[in-house]
């Protein structure tokens, strides 16, 4: 463990030569942020087409891409898509089903996350799935893995090719506040290692933590849910948020907490224009 600290601390010093983070989250508009964020990565990795950023580290490292492509020959998330489809088609005890909540079918990724002005909160797809269940007298599913992840895999698969398009509605102060809170979350240092999300995945993206190459933050939200070999199963975006926070030795927030929903809102907005390609496989 001691080695890790040294390695990461070294990286930290080197990585902070450039600082893009706005000091005050409210200083710039979402549209300006999107432009700044996207161009930061397209300039840093000039050979990588915008859509390729949906593939995480595999967009920038050929050696790991080779392994990934071999795994994509028969990706480990496939059985979960099938399970998700079965779940989607299995009626609730009251005879209704998910298609009664999602009237236009399972291809829903393009609609989430979004701001709900009435409820004054960011609504995510997992949240909507569990609210659908509860409205129909079913117990909510666990947020991080299991059946919910499988449902998301099916819905994600059906949504492949849809483009990320998170809108921060103009003139809605609540939406902007949620967005800015997510943005602050992304750029705020936390944990014993004192890292922000951006420390690793913006300033230090493309650099090594031991042998791992830090993936670019652009496109980070497109491929979910993800089968991580490290997990040996499928997990959700908020599971990974929690894992990242733990790795910098910070106390993670709860999945679907306001903090992570707002972070998802900001971060997904940063990937506007990039296609959803989940579910996907990572190391």
């Amino acid at each position: 463990m001691k080695k890790t600290v040294v390695a990461i601390a070294t990286l930290c010093v080197v990585g902070l030569s450039s600082t893009v983070a706005a000091k005050n989250a409210a200083d710039t508009t979402p549209a300006q942020d999107l432009e700044t964020y996207r161009s930061y990565f397209t300039k840093k990795f000039p050979g990588v087409p915008l859509q390729e950023f949906s593939n995480g580290v595999y967009a920038i490292d050929q050696i790991s891409r080779d392994s990934w492509e071999a795994i994509e020959e028969f990706p480990p998330y496939e059985p979960f898509i099938e399970e998700g489809e079965e779940l989607w088609n299995t009626p609730f005890a009251n005879g209704k089903g998910y298609s009664d909540c999602f009237k236009d079918g399972p291809a829903q990724r393009k609609n989430y996350p979004h701001w709900n002005a009435e409820r004054k909160m960011v609504i995510t797809l997992p949240l909507t799935i569990n609210e659908c269940r509860e409205a129909n007298g079913e117990k909510p599913l666990k947020w991080k893995k299991g059946k919910l992840a499988s449902l998301l895999a099916y819905m994600g698969y059906e949504s492949r090719g849809q483009k990320t398009n998170v809108v921060i509605p103009e003139g809605d102060a609540g939406a902007l506040t949620a967005y800015n809170e997510g943005k602050s979350q992304y750029f705020s240092r936390r944990g014993q290692l004192n890292f922000a999300c951006a420390s690793c995945h913006m300033q230090s993206s493309g650099m090594h933590v031991r042998t791992d190459i830090l993936s670019p933050g652009l496109g980070h939200t497109t491929g979910w849910p993800v089968y991580r070999s490290k997990w040996g199963n499928l997990g959700t975006l908020h599971r990974r948020f929690g894992g990242c926070n733990q790795q910098v030795r910070a106390k993670p927030f709860k999945a679907q907490s306001k903090e992570y929903r707002n972070l998802e809102y900001f971060l997904t907005h940063m990937s506007n224009g990039i296609e959803f390609n989940g579910p996907s496989a990572r190391k």
Partner: protein, 108 residues
């Protein structure tokens, strides 16, 4: 997990059928410890995978727990035609087993 523990594809191209199989299985080596209890997790892995084409064995695979969780197997054989059947069956060290058929797709 889905109904069958095996996902299977078989495609014929230029006279060669390529079969790809993904099995859902923990593939425990017996070396791993349960993080909570500290006890070793007993070995539990697929020992044998048999691939047949039209009822004839084309490959018999023996594995140790050194094959990854949710194991993958790909093999190919000469012959095969659209609509013919390829079967993949596995059996593990605890007596578990599963089998799955798939129709070959593609043109010779």
């Amino acid at each position: 997990m889905a109904k069958s523990s095996i996902k299977l594809r078989a495609k014929v191209k230029n006279g060669v059928t390529t079969v790809k199989a993904l099995m859902s299985h923990p593939m425990e080596t017996g070396q791993r410890k349960n993080k909570k209890t500290g006890e070793k997790i007993p070995e539990h892995f697929i020992q044998e995978v048999v691939g047949t084409y039209n009822g004839k064995v084309v490959i018999t695979t023996s594995w140790s727990g050194g094959v990854s969780k949710d194991p993958y197997l790909s093999f190919s054989f000469k012959g095969g035609a659209n609509g013919e059947t390829v079967t993949v069956s596995w059996s593990d060290n605890k007596g578990g087993s599963d089998t799955k058929d798939v129709k070959i797709k593609g043109k010779k």
